[in-house]
Symmetry: C2
Subunit: 129 residues, 2 copies
DNA sequence: AAGGGAAATTAGAACCATTCTTATTTGTAT
DNA sequence: ATACAAATAAGAATGGTTCTAATTTCCCTT
């Protein structure tokens, strides 16, 4: 799995490839440490700082999204579509939540005039009964 | 400003009163440290750990909400109505955002079946042009 | 009003995700 | 092939928050 061409300007290193590959393969919203543990199998000398650097580079280039739940360790999400996250308190797993068709979130909010929104985050917590 | 009666079970201490008072007076979404700095004027020997304890107690008793923006220091919000937060990147200030009348957020999301939602958080980032 | 026991407070140590620093290595344009 | 900018590794540093242990305070019972 190669990082696509459109990400030029981002120097292609073994470490970035592995981080990218792991994010794309699993649909697990891993933390930096989870990425670290996994890619160590392929790259035994990789450092945690490098994993953070790679993830940051991917975030900057809008290849992945960084998502936060409370102040838990940040997680990284390869789904770039606008979506929210459901955090299942029973299993600890995270599910992407799509909006129903035709929904424009900012239309539903009572925003101050002249507001330019650059980012929206929706987080739900609960249980799958 | 007294903590209301309905919060019995919560022992009323000078520290909790000051924390509560400060949260209710300002509409500033302060951090624990900001609360600490302010109530020190009235209670010079108060400790930061106590401020954390008081805030936690107020959160547990649903007198205030704890809100997080990315992994910045947690902030505390005395507004208990269901609402979102707009984080103005220019000034760093936070504004409560009401939903337009009649909006039920979960109706607009493509949730898995049998989902019980216990909490929703909406965060917007941007600028007031 | 006094005593006792549970709960809250204090001070500082500990924790842990993340960032920073510095020396070394690696990619890539020339 | 070379050189230079950028990325990596290792570990130290940072900073918000939580924990620990000793002390103090609240409040119920007498």
């Amino acid at each position: 799995m190669q990082i696509p061409e459109e990400i030029s300007g981002l120097r292609m290193t073994r470490q970035r490839q592995e981080v990218y590959r792991f994010l794309m393969e699993g649909r697990s919203h891993p933390t930096a440490n989870e990425v670290f543990m996994h890619i160590k199998e392929a790259l035994p000398n990789v450092s945690l700082a490098t994993v953070y650097n790679c993830l940051e580079a991917l975030v900057q280039h809008k290849i992945v999204r960084k998502v936060n739940f409370d102040r838990e360790p940040s997680r990284y999400c390869p789904n770039l579509d606008e979506h929210g996250h459901f955090h299942d308190e029973t299993t600890g797993t995270i599910h992407d939540i799509k909006f129903k068709p035709g929904i424009n979130l900012t239309d539903l909010l009572d925003l101050p005039a002249n507001t330019v929104i650059s980012d929206i985050e929706i987080t739900l917590r609960g249980q799958l009964a």
